[in-house]
Amino acid sequence: MIEARALIKRFGTLTALDGVSLRAADGRITGLLGPNGAGKSTTLRILYTVLRPDGGEAWIDGASVLAHSLEARRRMGVLPHGAGVYPNLTARENIEYFGALHGLARAVRRARAAQLIARLEMQPFADRAAKGFSQGERVKTALARALVHQPRNLLLDEPTSGLDVMAVRTLRRLLGELRDEGHCILFSSHVMQEVAALCDEVIVIAGGRVVVQAGPDELKARAGTASLEEAFVRLIDPNGAQDGP
């Protein structure tokens, strides 16, 4: 379970987060939805401990990301934006390296890497150097890397950007399976269809604030529209929606 309370983050004079509170439960896929620059990535980066908030607090399974960041990191897998991998290592080595950094014994990380390679259908490129990988191959590698220590919580920043249809499908199927296994999944996106297709819960974020947290249906009901897209537009900009069709 992932919780955040009143997160504030400033970059110089810009206030990126202005009191973001949220909750992502186990066994559910929670989508962080918002326009570009709304604060999605900043929120995730505070949750996965690479940024420190100027105010507020957050917990991963009850472990504070500020006071017990190592403990919090142990409990989550992270797919950052861009999915950078080590170009001179193979996909398998990339995965095993993170297993090692999570303290897994050699035999365990070998077995886990092999399992994930099979599960994500990575066999064709698993033992090639990551140098020439396509975006889809990179994301799969980065995802396997995030899962190697079998974390209960999974944070993904724009996981589908740059992926082709087949890769997106594989990713969706995998996230669904992980949800059914009881994992807590929090991912950010600015693509409406994706959120609609995947999420059990949607957090709409705009201008550094959480506008609403609800299920997709409840969201549509609240905005009084039939489509999620229209609901989204109304929620983040109540006036602008009047211009739409």
Binding site: V50, L70, L79, G84, N88, L89, L101, G103
Partner: protein, 391 residues
């Protein structure tokens, strides 16, 4: 501790996979540099050796006017080449061949016989270093000839020739063969230290600025490992690359200098296995400081390119004390042994001269260098805990 080791192994493995950078790091620097410097030293020695001890070719205009003088010069390995030329032609000849050319004027014999100063003209283009050396030797020889005649004249007049030598100056050259060679080999310590530092450049930048640019830094920071341990692992990998480079460079120098055959040319460059081992041990404590400095600077910059520029500039800093030392002719002192890189230079030079420094000096050098490495390493670790690192 285990995580430091794991980061170290991975960074080293990735560096070893990158053929191109490996060639630059371990071939160009450590092997090409000694070969080049060896060639330069070889040329320098051969050149100066010819000028100072070999026979001199001397063109003489109107050789017939001074037969005894030329007989005298021939005894001292001067090969006389007689030509017929007036003054203008002699000058043109020197402009073409640089000289030296000895012109014997018409009244030489007459004035000599009369006991008056007999004129001689020595033409040479002294901007040419090889000619300069020959002119010096010829002047000495001509002075010697003049002195002999003067003494004979005094004896003929019943005077003691010692009257002409009021001072008996003995200049005593205390240089040993080792110290003379070390003078020529001064650039060697510079080459060793610079190559050692340079070899860490690629890995220091690639594992920090490079990692950030490729987007793999952010996921790395989400693993449950203390941030400073990540840096220490990277630093350790840079240290190992630098150590390998140092070993290769010193070994390459040992081989090259042996092949040049300094001993045959009157110098014994003291570069046996013992000295080579001493140089490696003396330079070893500087490695962590160099690695930490480069990683610190590379982590601070915003991009790979910027890192290359800044780390390249920063690498000049450790070489500055060496340049000052050679300009000012600094000698090892306890205070100077507390300057990292300069103290390593002193250690290398003293080993090459065959005059080892006191143990205390070596201890100061090692202690201060290692302490600097620890401080810089700590600072790099602190930097990795700051979010500014992500750029």
């Amino acid at each position: 501790m285990k995580s430091i080791w794991r980061v170290f192994r991975k960074e080293l493995r990735e560096t070893l996979r990158d053929r191109r950078s490996l060639v630059t790091t371990l071939i160009i620097g450590p092997l090409l540099m000694p070969a080049l410097i060896g060639a330069v030293i070889f040329m320098a020695i051969r050149h100066s050796g010819v000028a100072n001890t070999g026979p001199i070719r001397l063109t003489v205009a109107h050789a017939g006017r001074a037969p005894q003088l030329l007989d005298f010069l021939r005894q001292y390995q001067v090969r006389v080449r007689p030509v017929e030329a007036d003054r203008a032609r002699a000058r043109r000849l020197v402009e073409r061949e640089h000289g030296p050319l000895l012109y014997v004027p018409r009244d030489f014999g007459a004035r000599l016989a009369a006991g008056k100063p007999a004129p001689l003209r020595l033409y040479a283009d002294e901007s040419n270093r090889a000619v300069q050396g020959k002119v010096e030797r010829l002047s000495t020889l001509l002075g010697l000839y003049g002195g002999t005649i003067a003494r004979l004249r005094l004896v003929a007049r019943g005077l003691d020739p010692q009257l002409l030598a009021p001072i008996a100056l003995h200049s005593i050259d205390t240089s040993t063969p080792q110290s003379r060679a070390a003078l020529t080999l001064g650039m060697l310590s510079y080459a060793i230290l610079f190559t050692m530092l340079m070899s860490g450049l690629y890995i220091a930048i690639d594992t920090t600025a490079g990692e950030r640019e490729r987007g793999s830094l952010e996921p790395l920071l989400t693993v449950p490992v203390k941030r400073e341990h990540l840096v220490y692992g990277k630093m350790l990998a840079a240290c190992v690359v630098m150590l390998v480079s140092l070993l290769l460079t010193v070994a390459a120098f040992a081989v090259t200098l042996r092949h040049i055959g300094l001993a045959r040319l009157g110098m014994s460059a003291n570069f046996g296995p013992g000295v080579a081992a001493g140089i490696v041990l003396g330079c070893l404590p500087l490695i962590p400081a160099g690695a930490a400095l480069m990683i610190l600077v590379a982590s601070y910059t915003r991009s790979y390119r910027e890192a290359q520029t800044y780390v390249g500039l920063v690498l000049l800093v450790p070489t500055l004390p060496l340049i000052f030392a050679s300009i000012l002719g600094l000698q090892p002192r306890a205070a100077l042994m507390a300057v990292p890189s300069l103290s390593q230079h002193f250690i290398i030079m003293s080993l090459l001269r065959g005059q080892p420094l006191p143990g205390g000096y070596v201890a100061i050098s090692a202690g201060v260098s290692l302490a600097l490495g620890a401080v810089l390493g700590y600072l790099a670790g602190r930097l990795y805990r700051r979010e500014r690192l992500l750029g």
